[in-house]
Symmetry: C2
C-alpha cells in the first residue's frame, strides 16, 4: 500500500502534458501543480489560511533549514511539521541536498555523506542519506526526497558522472532506511546537462521503483533550451504511473514548457522572493511596482486578476507601502504572485482537459511578452 499514489487522468494528444491526481495522506492534489515554498516552516509572509484561500494544495519545506532550526526533534515533539505549522494539506520536504550543495566551500562531500558548516552560526554538521531520510520521517511530510548530490552549472562531465553515481547509491541507502508508512520517498534524477548521464540516472533510479521522481540539478544557471532538452530526454524514461517533479522551477514560461514535456509538479521561491522586492507577475509580463512610474497609477497590479490584492488596492498604494517599508506591501505582492502562478496552473490543467494547451501557451506567451 503506497502512501502516495499518482493517477493519470488524461494525456494530452498534442503535447506530452498530462492531467493527474496525486493521492497523499493529507489530501488529493490535482496535477500539474505548483508548490509554494515554505523553507523554514512558513511560506514567507503568508498564513496557512491565506494559502488555502489561494487554493494552494501542497507546499514545500526544507529538511536542511528545519534540521538546523528549530531541529527535527522539536518538530516531532510538536506532533510533526503539519501540526507545528498548522497546515493540514500535503507537504513535500526537500532532502537538503540542494541546500547543502549550495553552501559551496562550506561543505565537503565523501561517499558517506556531506560535512558542512551551518549558514546560521558556522557550526559543523554531517548529513548523510540515512540522516536526511530519518529527519524527514521525523518531520512527517507526505513526500520526502532522497538525499542527492546536485552539481552546479557549468560542471565537467567527469564530476557530473561521479555525482550521478553517488546520487544513485545514496538513493538506495535512503530507500533502505525509509520505513514511514504515511510518507512516500521520491528519488531525484541528476546528470547535469549531459543527455547520456540524465538517461543513465533515470534508468538506474526507475529500476529501484520509487513512488515518484524528482528531476534535480536544472534551473541552476543553464540556458533554458538546455533545460528543455534535458527534460526531453529524461521524462520519457520515467514511469507513466508515477509523479514527475521538476525541482526549483517557477517562471511562467518554464512551467508551461515543462508541463508540455510531461512534468507534474513544481516548486520555486521565485514568486515569493520577487514579491518581497516589489516585483509582480501580471498577464502582461513583470511589473516593478516600486518604480516611480507607478506613483500615481490607480489601477490594480493586474487588471485581469481577481486576487485579494487586485480587488482592493492600487499600484500607487502598493508602491507607497514599499517606499515606506510597510510590511503590508510585500504581503500584497506575495498574495498576488502566488495567486498568479496557482491560477496559471489552473489554466494549464483546464487547457489539458479541454485540449487547447498549445493555443493556451501561444496566447499566454504573446501577452506576457515572451
Amino acid at each position: 500500500m503506497l502512501a502516495v499514489k499518482y493517477e493519470l487522468i488524461k494525456e494530452c494528444k498534442r503535447t506530452g502534458a498530462r492531467l493527474g491526481r496525486l493521492q497523499t495522506p493529507h489530501g488529493i492534489i490535482e496535477t500539474p501543480v505548483f508548490m509554494p515554498v515554505g523553507t523554514q516552516a512558513s511560506v514567507k509572509a503568508m498564513t496557512p489560511q491565506e494559502l488555502k484561500e489561494l487554493n494552494a494544495e501542497i507546499i514545500l519545506s526544507n529538511t536542511y533549514h528545519l534540521y538546523l532550526r528549530p531541529g527535527e526533534d522539536l518538530i516531532k515533539e510538536a506532533g510533526g511539521l503539519h501540526r507545528f505549522m498548522n497546515w493540514d494539506r500535503p507537504i513535500l520536504t526537500d532532502s537538503g541536498g540542494f541546500q547543502v550543495f549550495s553552501l559551496g566551500p562550506l561543505r565537503k562531500v565523501s561517499e558517506d555523506g556531506v560535512t558542512f558548516k551551518s549558514h546560521i552560526d558556522g557550526s559543523t554538521h554531517f548529513m548523510s542519506p540515512e540522516r536526511a531520510t530519518r529527519i524527514q520521517m521525523d518531520l512527517g511530510s507526505d513526500i520526502a526526497m532522497a538525499f542527492d548530490e546536485c552539481v552546479s552549472y557549468p560542471c565537467t562531465r567527469e564530476y557530473t558522472e561521479a555525482a550521478l553515481e553517488r546520487t544513485t547509491r545514496w538513493a538506495e541507502r535512503c530507500k533502505k532506511v525509509h520505513n514511514h508508512k504515511d510518507q512516500a520517498l521520491f528519488a531525484i534524477v541528476q546528470g547535469g546537462i549531459y543527455r547520456e548521464l540524465r538517461e543513465r540516472s533515470a534508468r538506474e533510479l526507475t529500476a529501484m521503483d520509487f513512488p515518484g521522481y524528482g528531476i534535480g540539478g536544472l534551473s541552476v544557471g543553464e540556458p533554458k533550451p538546455l533545460m528543455y532538452e534535458m527534460l526531453d530526454c529524461t521524462v520519457p524514461l520515467l514511469p507513466v504511473d508515477k509523479a514527475r517533479y521538476l525541482m526549483g522551477v517557477g517562471s511562467p514560461d518554464c512551467l508551461i514548457e515543462a508541463v508540455i514535456r510531461g512534468v507534474d509538479m513544481f516548486d520555486c521561491v521565485l514568486p515569493t522572493r520577487i514579491a518581497r522586492n516589489g516585483t509582480v507577475m501580471t498577464s502582461h509580463g513583470r511589473l516593478v511596482v516600486r518604480n516611480a512610474g507607478n506613483a500615481r497609477d490607480f489601477r490594480p497590479l493586474d487588471e485581469e486578476c481577481s486576487c485579494y490584492t487586485c480587488r482592493n488596492f492600487t499600484r500607487a498604494y502598493i508602491r507607497h507601502l514599499f517606499k515606506a517599508n510597510e510590511i503590508l506591501g510585500l504581503r500584497l505582492t506575495t498574495i498576488h504572485n502566488l495567486h498568479f502562478l496557482l491560477n496559471l496552473m489552473k489554466g494549464i490543467r483546464a487547457a489539458i482537459a479541454d485540449d487547447y494547451l498549445p493555443e493556451f501557451k501561444d496566447r499566454f506567451f504573446a501577452k506576457y511578452g515572451l
Copy 2:
C-alpha cells in the same frame, strides 16, 4: 449639522466611565474605543480585512507622515485616505503636532508655525495650523486634530504655559480654515503636568466649542499617577456631550484607569510595536515569546484568547518564526495584541453597561499582575 456626533448612552454610577456612541461619516463607533495606529496609511503588518475581522471600528493615521510621503495631493487624487488604503470605516488623523515636536532639534517653533526637517531625507518644511488643517481636509479623515504644541516631560511651567497659549491660538486658526463638512475638527488640551494649566487649556478650548477634545502631552514619560491626576482635573471640565480622546495611550492599566476617569477614545502604537519585537499581552501579563523558555512550549500565547493566532499556533512555533526572521511571526503577534486590546475595550464596555467596572478592573489587574 455636525459631521461627528457623540451620544452618551450611559454614565457609570460608581466611576466616571461612560458608554457612548460616536457617529461619523463612515459609521458608528462604540466608545470607549481603542484605535489601532496606521501611521503611514497602514496598520503595520495588517490588511484592512484582518482589522475588520478583529472588529476594529476606527483607525488612526498621521498627517505628518502622509504629508511627507506620499503627499496629501496624491492621496486626494486617489479619492482620499479611505480609498487610498481601502479602509471604509472611520479614520482619525493626528495633526502632526506630536510628530513634529518629537523631532527635537530638527524643528523651530514660531507663532506662525513650525519649521522642521524631514526624518526621511532631511529636507526643510514648514507646518502651520492652517497647513495641518488643509492637509487633513485633503486626506478626508472623519476626525481631524488641531495643530498643537506638545511639550516634553519634564518641562518648565513657564514654557508649558507659553505652549498652551500658542496651542489655544493655533486651535482658533485651525477652526477658522476648517470647512470640510464631512470631517470634525477636535481641539487638543495641553498644559503638561500642571493642574492650573490643564484647567486653563480645557476652559479656553471648550469655550470655542469644538465637536470633540483630545487630551495631549500625556504618556510622554511622566509617572502614571501624574497622568491620572491630570485626567482628574481635565476631564470634568470637558463637555458631557462631546467625545474625549486621550492621545497616545495603550497600556491595559492606563486604558482602564482613563476610562474610569471619563475618557472615550485612545490610540497607541504599543500593541503593534511590541508585537514586532516578539512581546505579547496576555491575560496573565506580558509574555516575551522570543525567549528560550518558549522553545518547546506548545500552548497558545494566551490560553484564554480566541484570536486567529491563539486558535491555531503555539508559542514554540511563533518563537521559531521570530528566531528565523519569518514575517509570519510578527503578523501573528500583531493580530494577537490588537485582538487583546480591542477585546479588553469590549470587556470594559460590557462592564460599564452592566455596572461592574470596579470589579472588572480589580480582576483584570490581579490577573495581569498589576
